[in-house]
Symmetry: C2
Subunit: 382 residues, 2 copies
């Protein structure tokens, strides 16, 4: 019986690729945006990504934002949120501060400071022991970066018409190749536009959930000491647990073998889809797809991107996903895993502002009584 | 572990209802047709049925087909397919002809004869020991009933625009309350318009698949002896097996208790959605939904309906369905059931013309070598 379920799950990985993504499985590459009907019919309904080349040719941002001087001038008096980490990996797994053989879920240290100063930090990333990334997933483009509003569109017109709503959040991301986003998924339809530099996405369909080895990790936060330039990683108090993907797709060579043994379903299963999004291009990243992101800057030293999060439909696909997630891949080996699923399934979408799956789920088991208002509004980084 | 899977499956039944169908779960009732975008976004994408009131107010059929004289005149020289059964139940389970404690899958006896004569048979149904139903699910409206083409539309314009294709088949159904359609599902997006009389649908989402107790039944066909007016039921030779829903939602009172014990997941689980489609109304019956249909005629003595089958997308939802179907509801009690699933999952969509799930699957296990061309093109009746 265990073998039956294991083989059913593996058939599903294969069937999604064959049915939705073609032979050989691939991500569609469109020269120009689809019509609203085409977008709904061919991409949103079947939950299929696509890359669009000439996505926003008319946006002033494409030329203006290649000038740091323009950005500094336009945002000279603006205070923005800067995320600081020692490694470039925030909202990611890190050695547990008190028991180093274990892992925790580490969030960045967030500083509010004037944009020109924040930009200097991003450009200096890696020179010192600090990686700075300008991002804030709370609709920051429309709040912190309002002065740049005229350089882009407020929404993606054909997507707005297809989905029947305006974006729930519009986020700006200014970084360089030092910042990396670990595997996660979002409960949003995501339209992701790169303005300068490139972003390299690894993509896996929601049906591959068992391959991500989602586990509960204690939440921690980096604290940055301005004087010493050193980070400390502090567990949240009281303890909160975050369900997060365990897989790092790019382990160090000396750790590769160990990682393959720990996560065989990921490393020995179908390869993730790899999509490079260049300046001027847009990725449609469907809701619930797992994604990992690397970025590389252009000659200005920056990778700038903006993304539009539209509410997803919580429909039969979502119900099927929850069902799949509740079924262990193997009745024997995954027993521990499925025991922890109950915590994640206690998700309450209205609990946090972002509605993101990466929301911290406070474990009731440890008697946490923290006020909801104190929760971070967002957790994922890309 | 068995309990875990059982409860996961039952959660899925509940979650689909809560997420897609509202609280309390219900079928949307629209006064007029949706736009193509609304149809895709709110119904096709989430795989949700809807009933549309003033669906086709401009169709001449709505008034013309209330006159049997008009139909007889227009189709006076047309030869049509008449389905004959002793009970009104075709493409349905019946006692096995040689081992009466078992069941088989019985198809109607099909006669080709002039429309006026065929109509007389339908109108006389029940008076003798014969129930006649005018139907043929091979696009019969555009072939056999071409003379009526001007009375309806060739397609449903807003659905064609939404789905991006023309109907694969358009079928006409002329019967009365003696004909009943047993539970089944179709691999089509179905737009079902009632012209005269009423049809009462029982609907269950695809996620309820375990509740239908789909089993393999040997295929049989009624043979009608014109002289004696008697039917015999003959097994197909060589034997073929049809996966079919085992549940009769309206058992005789004296059999009710036994049926509840045989099919507890159906009778003790969430009630099916009940939708009555009246003359002039249209039901959007999404692909893969299980449906059972009763009909009642108006004062003309006939129930006339026409339905448009559009190709469905074989996408992530379909892959999830196959996965769900491959997981036994209970690891102990459903073992026998899941052993037979392998036969159904050998489906090959291009194997038959109709592409319908109800296609006979020839069991290779019994060494059947029948020529594919001899397979019936369609099996379900509604």
């Amino acid at each position: 019986m265990a073998e039956r379920i294991e083989s059913s799950v593996q058939n599903l990985w294969q069937e999604v690729r064959e049915l939705s993504l073609g032979t050989p499985p691939h991500i569609d590459h469109l020269p120009t945006p689809p019509t609203p009907l085409q977008f709904l019919r061919h991409y949103v309904t079947p939950n299929k990504p696509c890359l669009i080349s000439a996505a926003v040719p008319h946006w002033p941002a494409l030329s203006l934002w290649r000038s740091a001087a323009y950005l500094r001038t336009t945002l000279s008096t603006t205070s923005v949120s800067l995320h600081l980490t020692p490694t470039g990996k925030a909202d990611s797994l890190a050695p547990h501060p008190t028991s180093p053989s274990a892992l925790c879920f580490a969030s960045a240290h967030v500083q509010k400071l004037p944009f020109p100063e924040a930009l200097d930090s991003v450009l200096a990333s890696g020179e010192e022991k600090t990686v700075a990334y300008l991002q804030q997933q709370n609709d920051c483009f429309r709040s912190e970066y309002g002065a740049l509003a005229g350089d882009c569109e407020e929404h993606i017109p054909w997507a707005t018409e297809a989905l029947g709503c305006s974006p729930e959040a519009v986020n700006l991301w200014v970084g360089n190749h030092f910042s990396e986003t670990s595997f996660h998924k979002d409960q949003y339809e995501n339209l992701y536009v790169v303005i300068t530099g490139e972003k390299r996405f690894l993509l896996l369909p929601p049906t591959d959930v068992h391959r991500m080895y989602i586990r509960e990790y204690p939440a921690a936060q980096y604290c940055y000491d301005q004087d010493s330039g050193e980070f400390t990683l502090e567990l949240e108090d009281p303890v909160a647990y975050v369900p997060w993907c365990s897989v790092d797709p790019y382990p160090l060579p000396e750790e590769k073998q160990r990682e393959v043994e720990k996560f065989p379903l990921y490393f020995n299963g179908p390869k993730p889809f790899e999509v490079t999004v260049k300046a001027g291009e847009m990725l449609y990243l469907p809701s619930m797809w797992f994604h990992h992101v690397l970025q590389s800057p252009d000659e200005t030293g920056l990778t700038i991107a903006i993304n539009y999060w539209y509410d997803m439909q919580f429909d039969i696909k979502y119900a099927y996903f929850n069902f799949l997630q509740s079924i262990p891949h193997s009745l024997s080996s995954d027993l521990g895993w499925c025991e922890t699923r109950n915590v994640e399934s206690s998700r309450n979408r209205s609990f946090y502002n972002s509605g993101d799956e990466s929301d911290i789920i406070v474990s009731q088991a440890v008697g946490d009584t923290r006020d909801n208002e104190e929760q971070p509004e967002n957790m994922s980084q890309d």
